[in-house]
Every structure is written in C-alpha cells, then in structure tokens.
Amino acid sequence: MADTLSNSTAVQDSLEVAAKTANTTLESDIDLPVEKIDLDISSLKLNIRFDGAGHKDRIRGAANPDKKEQSAVTSPKAESQSKGDVGGQEGKKELENRKRQFRMSQLADRRGGNPNMPSQGTAAGSLPEDLNPQQQSGADNMLKGIRNEREQPGANQLRRKLEYRLRNRAQRGMAGPSLGENNSRLSGAGNADDLLSNLDFSGNEDDDDDDSQPMNVQESQEQQVEERLARERERDRQNQKSNKDKNVAGAGGDYSLLQRIQIEVNTYRNKIKKIDEQIAGLRKTLILLMTVLAAVLGKDVLDVVGFGLWGWVDWLFDIQLMLAAFILKIEQEGKEKIEGWMLSLVELIPYADVLPAWTARVLKSVLQRNKELGDAVDEKKKIQKKLDKALKFRQALLNLPEEDK
C-alpha cells in the first residue's frame, strides 16, 4: 500500500477492522457501510471549498479522472480503473507514476512550463509553493476547506481535533529540532514557521517572526491539556466510585438513564395524545351545546311571552329536549345529572314552566365544558414543557461526551 493512506482500500480495511472490534467490545451489531467509501471520498472532494483557483482544477480533476491529468489525491474511480487494467504491483506502480507525473505537471504549470526549472522568486532552501502562506494552497487549502464546511456533529469533531493538533505540532516543531532536522520531506530552515502560518486558524500571516509568544501559548496549552487530563482522571475515579455505590457498572448506568428518559418521553407523549383527543371532543360538544342553547333560549322566550297559551304544545318541545339532553349527555357526573333533570322536571309543573329552566341547564353545561377545555389546554401546555425538557436532556445525553453525562 506504500505509505498512502488516502486510498479507498486502506481506509475501508481500517474501518472494517475498527468496526468489528468496536462491535465486539460493545456487544453490538452495528453495520458500517464501508463499501460506500468510494462514493464518500469523491463526494468529499467536491464538498470541500477551496480558495485557490489552481486547486479547484486539481480537485475537479480528481473528481473526474477522464478530464485533464490525474489527481494528487487518488480518485477512487481512477484507482479502481487502474486496478482493473493492471493487477497487483504493476497497478500500484502505475498509480504512483501517475501521481508523480501529475505533481510534476502541476509544478510545471506554476513555474511556466518546465518542470525542472526552479520556481521564480522562490529562494533556494525555502518552502515549495504549496506551503507558501501567500499562495494559500496545498494542505492549507484543504484545511481551510474543511474549516469552511458546515459544522457537523460526531466524528467531525475528531477530525477538527486532528487539524488543531497538526497546527500545534507545527508550532512545537518551530521550537524543537524534530521537524526541521528529521523530516527530510520539508526542505529549508523556516519550515515550521511557514507551516504554522499555513495551518494557523486565525488567518494572521504577519506574526511569523514572533518567536516568544507562540512558545508561551504552547506552554499554556500544554499546561491546560495536563490540567484537563488530571481533572478527567479524578472525575473518572469519582464516577467509578459512585457507580460502584449504585451497583451500576460502566456505561450501563448511562444507557439505563437514557432508557428512563425515553420512558418518560413516551409517557408525556401519551398524555398529550389523550389530552388532544379530549380537547377535540370538548370542542365538538361545545358547538352542539351552543346550538342547543340557542334553541332552548328561543323556547324559554316563547314560554314567557305566550304564558298559558301554548302549555300543551310546550310539552312536546320539552320531551324532544329531554331526549336531546339524554343523547348529548349534557351532564357527565351523577350530581350534575340529577340537578339537570330536576331543572327539566320544573318545566312539567303547571305555571312553573315559565321559568327558563332549560336555558339554565344548558348554559350551566356550556360553562362547565368551557372550563374543562381551558383546564385541558393548560394541562397540555404543562406536559409539553416537561416533554421539551426531557427531549432536550435526552439529546444532550446522546451528544455529550461520556464524561459529561
């Protein structure tokens, strides 16, 4: 595989082994679609935004191997193509040759056509153009592209961490001899400085000469990391102790907490569902009751106006209204029912039927339902708040690093 990591087979193999190990450790059966890796690499190249125009071409070339030259970063399509044409060692050699050829042609483009000519304006021993901070190319562009990407949760944080570490390492390399002396791939004395400016997040390219400040920053960062690790170890010990106390081992405690929250979420959802149904029922009943109220109001007005004249016809209305009250279940509880029917019976008493008994009965029921509706809406709001809290907590538990749970 030579020392190329960004070839789909290598990444695929690493991920497959890692997935198997993780599944064994976690006793899980999570499927990782590593076969999609070709697509991901190609889409990745297209997703990254590059500042330099030259690199856009390079990336376009990588995404479409038929166009122009071969990419600096091997395109999976091209890779599989080359694998199909020539097998084993020959394929790899050809791939390497193509890469070299492409890099040479790139350099030639930049230097005006001749790949063997040194670049104009570049002093001997200085960094190649890709690492020059003014050109904003090479690894810097890739890092910038990654930085410009939309924030993504999960593993992207790890990638950003690596990016940050690379920058820090470049800073350290500036002070220590390791980077400049040992790495023969990076030529010249000011490598670490240039790397720092290339990989710098702040985008400030003028502070290359300031040696003392990065040293202080580095020391404080190291100190912070050490302090953080010490804090984490301490917390780990405390967690271990508390877990023993609770007779909950390891991450099991966290999972059971998640499950408990989920059960709570389910309970709240069920309650809200029931309340919604109740509210819908109450609204329908209220509409019917309002109609009935209009009818009984008219009837009672007639009772008062036509006193004694239509007493026997009134009874016909009363019977119909009683049937309606029975079907509509105007009263729900036993006491209410008794009161309601008592009021209706008043209508049967001669000379007492002028009293607006029906209006009183229905109006009382309307007010009762209205109050119930208001209570239900309030209850729903309360449960909704609790549900929102539980959902937020659950999301926080799912997303936070384990030590913060």
Binding site: D3, L26, G250
Partner: protein, 105 residues
C-alpha cells in the same frame, strides 16, 4: 444493569483521553521519519478509537429507538445514526487525505 465489555476505563473519560493519545501518536508518527507500517498502525489506532466512540453513541441511540413509540421520531433518530456513520467514514477519509497531503508537502 451491568454491561460487560464496557468498563469505566474504556467507555468513560478514558474514551476522550484515548482519542487525544491516538491523535497525538498519529501526528507524532507523521512528523518523524516513519515506515509505512508505523503510519498504518497509528492510523488504524486512531480509526479504531474514532469508530468506538461513534459506535458507542450509535448504540445509545439504538437503545432509545427500541423504546420510542413515535414513528417520526424513530425515523429522525435513524437518520441521525446514518449521518453519524457517514460522518465517521467521511472523517476517516479526510484524515487519510490530510495526512497524505501533509506527508507530500
């Protein structure tokens, strides 16, 4: 409820410490003169730690899915899981490319 296989050391704070160590180790190998095998080993280690962390989170979500009674939410969590998987693959690919680019420069 005991879950064998996830000890406090591997599943808890040690998780983030391990990622730090693996990242540190990988960058260290990248910086110094190294053999392809050394680099591959460091890369595999980093991938393994990243995968473990992602799988741990996925497993937690799967346990939640089992209890969720809302199909829309179940779908949402499943989408989140798929996103995490894709994110992992993409991150690993990006790291590989980043490392290769760093080596070349």
């Amino acid at each position: 409820m005991e879950r064998p296989g996830i000890s406090v050391k591997t599943g808890s704070t040690a998780g983030s410490i391990k990622i730090d160590q693996a990242t540190e180790n990988f960058i260290g190998v990248l910086d110094r003169d190294h053999t392809p095998e050394e680099l591959k080993r460091a890369f595999d280690n980093l991938v393994s730690v990243m995968t473990f962390e992602t799988f741990r989170k996925i497993k937690a979500r799967q346990e939640v899915i089992q209890l969720v009674n809302d199909s829309a939410e179940e779908e949402k969590i499943e989408e989140e899981i798929n996103k995490m998987k894709e994110d992992l693959i993409k991150s690993v690919s990006e790291i590989a490319m980043l490392a290769d680019n760093y080596q070349k420069e």
